[in-house]
Symmetry: C2
Subunit: 237 residues, 2 copies
DNA sequence: CGCAGATTTGAGGGTCCTCAATGTTCGTGG
DNA sequence: CCACGAACATTGAGGACCCTCAAATCTGCG
């Protein structure tokens, strides 16, 4: 992750762009963190340069569980991770999908509210939380928290929309994080998608079929989608 | 807002409790921010002690609009505020209700993603954002952001539940912020509640009638509710 | 090949939305 | 103080959307 400082207009505001490293290649994923100029911004990269441990996991292995200590912070190197909360009745609410370059495990409390599991084979970097919580890295921490806040706000917006719209938003969201924006390689199952969007697997499947029928997407396999008409997808929202 | 430091066990973790000032009386509203001990935590109160301007608004007056500069930060003294985003088609998604003691207007970007409007007669304190973005107040800023993140995450959880459950959660949420937990004085309209919960006003009304019929709540007036059976309300969730 | 798990498709029902009518609250002015 | 109107809230009927249950199809793997 690298920070690019952009001086905006004549004001004292800075825009902060994060460009994340993807596993296959470099792909810009701009996010404005919009901190004030007086903030001394740390380099998030540096956080994981200070002797990180590496950890490798197989699919469905747990990275951390609910209620576990938030002592460690993670950065995904390759693979995909789901972060979720278990609800009563065997239900599950997936809060986020983490892709290569993502930093996760940063939570305000001393214990994790969510757990994290490997979806695919995963390798990640691990650092102690105490490394981040130092004056030199306040800026970086604020940036991470800001991005998270924005992400969760957008997700809350998504959840008050129709099933068709949720799928469209999800596809475009994933599209932004792929090297080839039109070619989606979805590492997660339909159940994962359903639990992320607050729908059932059947509804997810039906909506995908519907989008396919309207020629907005193609489905070479169930985990490979092609967005044939991103413009029309955007209009659904 | 005052910080209470709690040393947890033998570890280096601190728990941070915020107790908010309500308009009628003092009422604790604990929120764990869970920062590491190495964080130097500022007193949020102090932020608004440094020569704040005061502002008074009538119902439905705008405090700040979408796209406006995030130069100012607010603290509600009395009344109630809704923070929302306008969607196409005249729709509205209320993101938060702000009650006395709440700090709001803290957003990551240089422009507001949401707007804020007075629901009732409102008086609030205003400070420049630059006052907060100084090394001495990083801790306070992190605390505010942490609380916001937790709040939005909980709201996202709410939005993937049934209408009955959303109402129950909303009532208990408001209950926690009232002086008399069993007596709810709702400053907002049914439309506000509906837009907050992602429902229609009719559904909100029907669910309240249903809860009334089951003797879980009483309705002296439409804006005064009595929670006769908070335990049963909790079981709905 | 055969099996288990995942995905898709179908039928039916429940929840919530839409539209419409009625009842209530509140502010204004006679 | 009461009458009136406008906005708000409640209730009802009907329908759309999404969920549940069930079956069929596809996929990956031993």
């Amino acid at each position: 992750v690298r920070f690019i400082y952009l001086l905006l207009g004549a004001g004292v505001q800075w825009g902060v762009m994060l460009s994340y490293t993807r596993n296959q290649s470099f792909h810009a994923r701009p996010r404005t963190a919009g901190l004030n100029s007086s903030v001394e911004i740390g380099d998030v990269d540096r956080l994981f340069a200070i002797g990180p441990r590496e950890r490798v996991l197989a699919p469905n292995e747990e990275i951390f569980g609910e209620g576990q200590s938030t002592e460690l912070i993670y950065r995904l190197v390759s693979g995909a991770v789901r972060s979720y909360k278990s609800l009563k009745g065997g239900c599950r609410k997936i809060e986020a999908f983490r892709l290569p370059g993502d930093i996760f495990g940063v939570e305000p409390g001393p214990k994790h509210e969510f757990c994290a599991e490997a979806i695919t084979d995963v390798s990640l970097l691990v650092v102690r939380r105490s490394v981040l919580f130092s004056p030199a890295t306040y800026g970086a921490l604020l940036t991470i928290m800001s991005c998270e806040l924005k992400r969760v706000q957008d997700h809350a917006l998504l959840l008050s929309k129709s099933a068709r719209q949720r799928l469209a938003i999800f596809l475009l969201e994933m599209s932004q994080r792929m090297n080839e924006p039109d070619i989606l390689e979805l590492p997660m199952s339909r159940r994962d998608i359903a639990d992320y969007l607050g729908l059932t697997i059947e509804t997810v499947s039906r909506m995908l079929s519907q989008l396919n029928q309207k020629n907005l997407i193609d489905r070479p396999t169930s985990h490979h989608l092609i967005l044939s008409n991103r413009l029309a997808l955007g209009r659904i929202i």
